[in-house]
């Protein structure tokens, strides 16, 4: 049990996050429905199809059925682990034991992973009988995960289960692993923890189990059989449970993949129906916008272009500067101290400096081989030292500026929260680009690019949320929840993207057959 306050906060934060996610899903579903309607038969008047939305979104507690299933799974897992321990204790069957052990371990972390591997699991069963006369001490060896041994004969092949994978929910997601798979167990992590101790495997398992039960509840009911049956041999049972989990994984994948399949069928309709009925695919290139809209649109875009190119005249600039200077003289502090907005902005810029500098320090080799290398390394470190002290100085200045600004702060007795505009910091202010009136075009040339864009954006949002959750709730409970801390590369992604400082411009996404960089 977690300490009360922390646990409650964590639960509340998670619930809030779930609420936000549900909102996003609804919004996305609305947009998708609109697009789908366009791709159907052009004159199709039928209403929206019922959505396969998950009804479990709105519950705050797992349903009793889910709890039951969770209990059963826990029991099965405990049995499997008991067996493993007991087997380990008998050194005579060392080799047989290792087979079991690997099998046991394989079962533990495998669940959320592969779609197409019921086969190796069955072969684990086989290997207990075959017991290939492998004299290798399997325990001490750490086989490379990429190695594919002779087909499914020897135990360590069970490692294949830890293949890289998008989380089971993504049926047709991009092949590039590590996008959302990082959310669950990444392949890399999975491999590195492959020989992890039983306890960590258990944790990981426990964490993923709730996921499983949800998947199970959504899938067809034939799973009930596997639970009630086969209790004779705990080993078999756990294997069956394991296999079943994989199947469930497949099913829920398929389930979620259904919605994406719908599009294909819609397209298929289009292709199969006779030419006269008309779908977007057929008529698309001959469509014409209605005349009034066309006129309005072209007027509008011309006006935007003129505004964008419009410059401030010299007279205006001079008159304006004079006014601004005069009014500045009447301020409380006529000389330019950073405004609270600027202070906040500067601070935001400094936020990731320590972590980036630390990365640079870590990158420096501990013992450079050559004289030259040593010297350069030393220079780099000294340079970093200078940077750090400069940052500290800047921080001092900002602190002083903040204090002086706070002294001038208007009295805000009463509801401080509502009156402070800093609670809703000016969006777009921090991302001040010179050309506010331009809307860059993003031209993409293939569907894959578009997908990658959205997948990455989603990943960034997800990481932001994780960071916020971790900041808000905890320190000690992290391990229990087995949240994955963003790896270095992910942090770099964030930092890298933050630099250009023009993020709130909206882009128009187009399709072009040749890649055009647009005016980004």
């Amino acid at each position: 049990m977690l300490p009360a306050g922390r646990g409650r906060r964590a639960a509340a934060a998670l619930r809030a996050a779930l609420g936000e996610g549900a909102e996003r899903r609804r919004e996305l579903e609305r947009r998708a429905a609109r697009s789908r309607a366009l791709l159907r038969l052009w004159d199709d008047e039928e209403g929206e199809r019922p959505q396969p939305g998950s009804s479990t979104e709105h519950e705050d507690r797992p349903s009793p059925k889910e709890l039951e299933e969770l209990e059963l799974l826990n029991r099965a897992l405990e049995k499997a682990l008991k067996i493993r321990k007991s087997i380990l204790k008998t050194p005579l069957e060392a080799q047989g034991a290792t087979a079991q052990k690997w099998a046991g371990e394989a079962r533990a972390p495998k669940k959320a992973e592969e779609l197409q591997v019921p086969v190796p699991v069955e072969n684990v069963l086989e290997c207990r009988k075959v017991r290939a006369g492998s004299k290798k001490p399997l325990l001490s060896k750490k086989p490379s995960p990429f190695q594919l041994r002779a087909p499914y004969r020897t135990d360590p092949d069970v490692k294949k289960l830890q293949r890289k994978v998008p989380a089971r929910c993504v049926a047709q997601g991009p092949r590039t692993a590590g996008k959302i798979s990082s959310k669950g167990m990444t392949s890399k992590q999975g491999r590195s923890h492959r020989t992890a101790s039983g306890t960590s495997a258990r944790e990981v398992c426990a964490a993923a189990e709730p996921q499983e039960t949800l998947g199970l509840s959504e899938s067809a009911p034939n799973e009930q059989q596997s639970f009630s049956g086969g209790d004779s041999d705990a080993g078999t049972n756990s294997i069956a449970a394991g296999k079943h989990l994989l199947d469930a994984g497949k099913k829920s994948c398929g389930f979620l993949g259904e919605s994406s399949n719908k599009v294909d069928t819609a397209g298929a309709w289009g292709r199969s129906t006779s030419p006269g009925t008309g779908t977007l695919q057929e008529k698309g290139s001959q469509l014409k916008l209605p005349l009034p809209y066309k006129k309005a649109y072209s007027k509008n875009s011309r006006a935007w272009e003129r505004c964008r190119l419009c410059q401030t005249s010299a007279d205006a600039a001079a008159a304006r500067t004079r006014f601004m200077e005069k009014i500045q003289m009447t301020f409380c502090s006529p000389k330019l101290t950073p405004s609270p907005a600027e202070i906040e902005e500067e601070l935001r810029g400094l936020q990731d400096v320590p972590s980036r500098l630390r990365q640079y320090v870590e990158v420096e080799p501990a013992d450079p081989p050559t004289l030259q290398g040593e010297y350069e390394s030393l220079l780099t470190l000294e340079g970093l030292q200078t940077t750090v002290s400069q940052c500290l100085q800047k921080l001092q200045l900002l602190r002083a500026a903040l204090e002086s600004q706070l002294r001038l702060r208007p009295d805000c007795t009463g509801d401080v929260g509502s009156c402070s505009p800093a609670c809703h910091p000016a969006r777009g202010q921090t991302c001040d680009s010179a050309d506010m009136l331009a809307v860059p075009l993003l031209c993409y040339s293939s569907l894959q690019e578009l997908r990658d864009l959205f997948a990455l954006k989603l990943q960034v949002s997800m990481l932001h949320q994780e960071i916020a959750l971790q900041k808000g709730t905890i320190t000690g409970s992290q391990n229990n929840l087995s949240w994955k801390r963003p790896t270095t590369s992910q942090i770099q992604l964030l930092a890298l993207h933050r630099q250009p400082k023009n993020p709130t411009l909206c882009l128009r996404v187009l399709s072009k057959h040749s890649w055009r960089s647009g005016s980004l």
């Binding site: 698309g284 400096v353 320090v361 706070l406 000016a426």
Partner: protein
Amino acid sequence: MRGRQREQLREQLREPGPALPAAVGALCRALPPRARPAPDTLRRARFDRPQASVDFWRLLYVLLKQIHGGRWTESDAIGAQVRFVKSALWYHGYGRPQLQRLPADGSAGSRELLLAFSWLLHRLRLLERLLARNRLRTGDEASVCTCEDELPSSLEGAAEAGPEDRVDVRYLQWLNGRLRLQWCSLHAQHQEQCKLLHKIHLFTNGSHMDQNLGHFSVTETDLIRRPENYKQLLQLLESETMQLEAFLEWKQLEPVYWQWMETVLDNMAEEGNICESQDAHVEKRRLPEVTSCCPWAEKLTGQMDRLSRDLMALQEQLHQLVAQRRAAWWEKHRFWLCRSRETCSSELKRKESLGPSDDFCCQE
């Protein structure tokens, strides 16, 4: 020539020229529809008419709320509006003390507000920012913003008191699992949406009259299919065009406006000179202590503290590392350096004994 002299004379006499109403009118029309003042309001404010004050507070309130992305309604109380505007102006660095002294019921101070408005106009690039923010979206858009604008406040500030005292960690794990599942579903949804979008773009390629774009967006395709649903879009498009044209007109007439504002400021300076200097001293003594009840300031101070802790730890680490490396460097190469020095000096001695012919040594 005559006309020019007359113009200059008029300016000196501080009478507005004929271009001013046009400038003010253009300015008002270039503001977004829901925040559009009547040109009269500005004129009355110039003469510090109290009737214009409430309108002006409201104007600033709405404009600043839009900038900050906040919500506002028609029925927000004047007191709240005044507080918000004062706070926002402070936040952006507007430092005129007279503004902060204005009454909280919004009954006076239209001229001060006019000054503040003009200051914001330039400082925040009000017109451009609002135009960009309220831009009508007819296309399919994707932002590449990676800022944390995902309302983290809802996550960090969540401190509800649940009914149970203790929370089972498995419940948290379950919630966590659901969250992950949700992200997976979102991902799948996004991917589907990409496919749909791509199809629509592909199928309508070649139809758009704008060659740069080439294909229709979802909105436009829907517009073709069901034009009756989009009458409002057309109206909005037209009104936006008018706003843009007003903006262009304003840019032409800008100098007039700023000159006018300068005269307003000068007038105020003359009038206020006598009494202000007395108030100023009183004012300074009244300065309140740094209020600790400001959550924003606390957040910022917290960030600063954390940052300085991290930086100092890093500084310490670097200090040690550099000292270590330097020591190692000298240790390693001292021998070599000494040796080379010895060699050099022995060479010197040898050469001296031989003769001063070659001096290739000591060329470090």
